[in-house]
Amino acid sequence: MRGGLAAIVIWGALTGAAPAEEEGRRIGDPVRGAEVFGQCAACHEVGPGARHRVGPHLNGIFGRKAARFDDFRYSDGIRRAGRDGLTWDLEHLDAYLTNPKTLVSGTRMNFRGLKDRRDRDDVLAYLRQFSDNPSDIPEAAPTARKVEVELPPEVLAIMGDPDYGEYLSSECTTCHQIDGDAEGIPAIIGWPEEDFVLAMHAYRRKIRPHPVMQMMAGRLSDEEIAALAAYFGALE
């Protein structure tokens, strides 16, 4: 794996009730968020009269299912995620902004991610103003609280054993075609290893929707995920 990567933060699903003092907390500072949004504005519009540009407009994004506009051409990856049930609530928007590839491999959103939590909080607070009655945000019920789950650099740095990966891969190739055809089920050969690792950890933590993948990834160790990434990454 490439070294020197900053820790990649994934928000885990809410477990347990939020402490009382967390409720009613604002997501962030929308005024500062408007400035941060400058980084997004080359591709996305938001606010009155917003239209699709390189990316879809972001009015009403909170609570919307992914890839919902008929008049926008999405990548296959995000369309699939939408059909699997990916919904843009606070938790998933935050994970996507942290690193788009956590949620959608092969997304066209060519953006490294906002690694600074305050930037994300502020830009989400800004975007939230353009959505009606969103659920799962701190000031609405049911209240979701973001739980930080780190994917530390050590995990990304694990060198996968491709031989072990080859054995484990036989469980994947029952569904994922080894020749790389992507009919109905995505192809998984030749991915950058990091994308593969991110995707599998996101399934394991149930941030990515899809019950089969959540179940399969759920019993893979960090080493096994790395081994699979190494093995499939080397196939073409």
């Binding site: 299912k65 699939r80 939408g82 059909r83 699997d84 049930g85 031989d163 072990y164 054995y167 484990l168 036989s170 469980e171 190739t173 029952t174 569904c175 994922h176 075609q177 080894i178 020749d179 055809d181 992507a182 009919e183 109905g184 089920i185 019950p211 089969v212 959540q214 179940m215 399969m216 759920g218 019993r219 080397a234 196939l235 073409e236």
Partner: protein, 420 residues
């Protein structure tokens, strides 16, 4: 590093003869005979040949030249697939992976001499034997029915000509006619299979014969994905389907193939098509090998070895293994564990802990797919379920359509995994 696996394997299988064979079992390459070229057998043969890179001599015995998958044969009944699209041949296994494919029936197994005799007269010696012969029907399970009646009352539980016959009979039903199914008792091949079939028959009849009726006589109080099927039947085929469970005599059924009648709990019902799916047991060759207890062949989940004879591994529907349903997905999953164990025993290759999984997709109507799945591990006692999931009632149309598309991808994936 990039490794083109297909090319690499193609070459290595081709060079098999040139590779030095490990001398684990003395002179000559160790020999594995696989009986049955279905979901379990084809996968096992392919993985053994592929992963041993020519170090093991793999012979696959399968009478039919074209294997029609039972999976998606219901979709053929529903008009979603052609029969051609579910037929597969063994050419790639032979040409690309170096599997010796013998189109014949195994008719006897001598466990002491470690030989398999074929109907054609040949005798095949083995170091390890893998049996994946699928199912046969229990004699006398449905009074009035035996295999000589399968043309009038098809089971269509082995795909191919039986599926064609059933489809033709459905098409020939008179308007307002009755389609009946005698459903099997547990355990049987593909738990949701009969109910997916009912869905597909209803799908066809709704368009071609909307006043027709569908009747299921079922010995089981409940069945796989029941809530999902019943919701779907209500939604898409309201009023067309009636199921008589054991509380209504569904466990007391006889048929008369000549009169085309079904007798449920003493009441005679005239039907136009009667799909009889009798109780099942392991393919007969397991009995002939003397490795069955009751109707099935018990195995040790760590390796899929027969509990009776450790030189024999039993896969798929024929095996009594524990919690896994009898499905193509399961057979494929078990085949990889068995192939790894056999290879380890014969060539000393590394053996990893057994892992199993299964997912069964079913189609209820156009773009309305559902699924159920689980993961499993081997314990000393059995293959035990670890974790699972099932589609929910009331899911939105998008998700159901995606689930159906996924099943098409799965079909392409598993058949490539079996046949190369």
């Amino acid at each position: 590093m990039t490794l083109n696996r297909r090319k690499f394997l193609g070459t290595s299988a081709g060079m098999a003869a040139a590779l030095s064979a490990p001398a684990v079992l003395g002179a000559g390459r160790p020999r594995v005979v696989v009986i049955g070229g279905g979901a379990g057998g084809a996968t096992a043969a392919r993985y053994l040949a592929k992963d041993s890179k020519g170090a093991i001599d793999v012979t696959l015995v399968e009478p039919t030249r074209t294997y029609f998958t039972c999976f998606f044969s219901n979709l053929y009944l529903g008009g979603f697939r052609t029969l051609d699209s579910i037929g597969h041949t063994y050419g790639t296994l032979a040409a690309q992976f170096g599997v010796n494919v013998v189109h014949d029936w195994a008719v006897g197994i001598d466990r002491d001499a470690r030989t398999v005799s074929l109907a054609g007269g040949a005798m095949l010696p083995y170091d390890r034997l893998i049996l994946s012969p699928g199912i046969d029907f229990v004699d006398g399970a449905v009074p009035g029915w035996d295999v000589t009646a399968q043309n009038r009352m098809p089971h269509a539980y082995k795909a191919g000509s039986q599926s064609e016959l059933l489809r033709a009979q459905i098409a020939a039903m008179p308007q307002g006619g009755v389609f009946a199914m005698v459903a099997p008792p547990n355990p049987y091949r593909c738990p949701p299979g009969p109910y997916e079939r009912i869905s597909m028959v209803a799908h066809v009849l709704r368009d071609t014969n909307p006043s027709a009726k569908i009747l299921i006589a079922d010995p089981k109080p409940k069945f796989s994905k029941q809530a999902l099927f019943e919701e779907g039947w209500q939604k898409h085929y309201g009023g067309m389907i009636d199921r008589l469970g054991p509380d209504f005599g569904g466990d007391d059924v006889a048929v008369d193939p000549d009169a085309m009648t079904l007798n449920v709990d003493g009441e005679e019902i005239k039907v136009d098509v009667c799909n009889v799916i009798p109780a099942m047991k392991a393919g007969r060759i397991c009995d002939l090998a003397g490795i069955t207890e009751g109707n099935w062949a018990p195995v040790d989940g760590h390796t899929m070895q027969s509990r009776v004879d450790p030189n024999i591994h039993v896969l798929g529907d024929a095996a009594a293994q524990g919690d896994m349903p009898k499905s193509g997905f399961s057979a494929n999953s078990q085949a990889k564990v068995a192939a790894m164990a056999v290879r380890g025993a014969l060539t000393g290759s590394k053996v990893f802990p057994a892992k199993f999984s299964n997912t069964c997709w079913s189609l209820i109507d156009t773009d309305d797919g559902v699924k159920v799945g689980a993961t499993y591990e081997a314990t000393d006692e059995k293959i035990a379920k670890v974790d699972g999931f099932i589609s929910q009632t009331g899911e939105d149309a998008d998700l159901r359509a995606a689930t159906y598309e996924e099943s098409i991808g799965w079909y392409a994936g598993i058949t490539q995994d079996m046949f190369g």
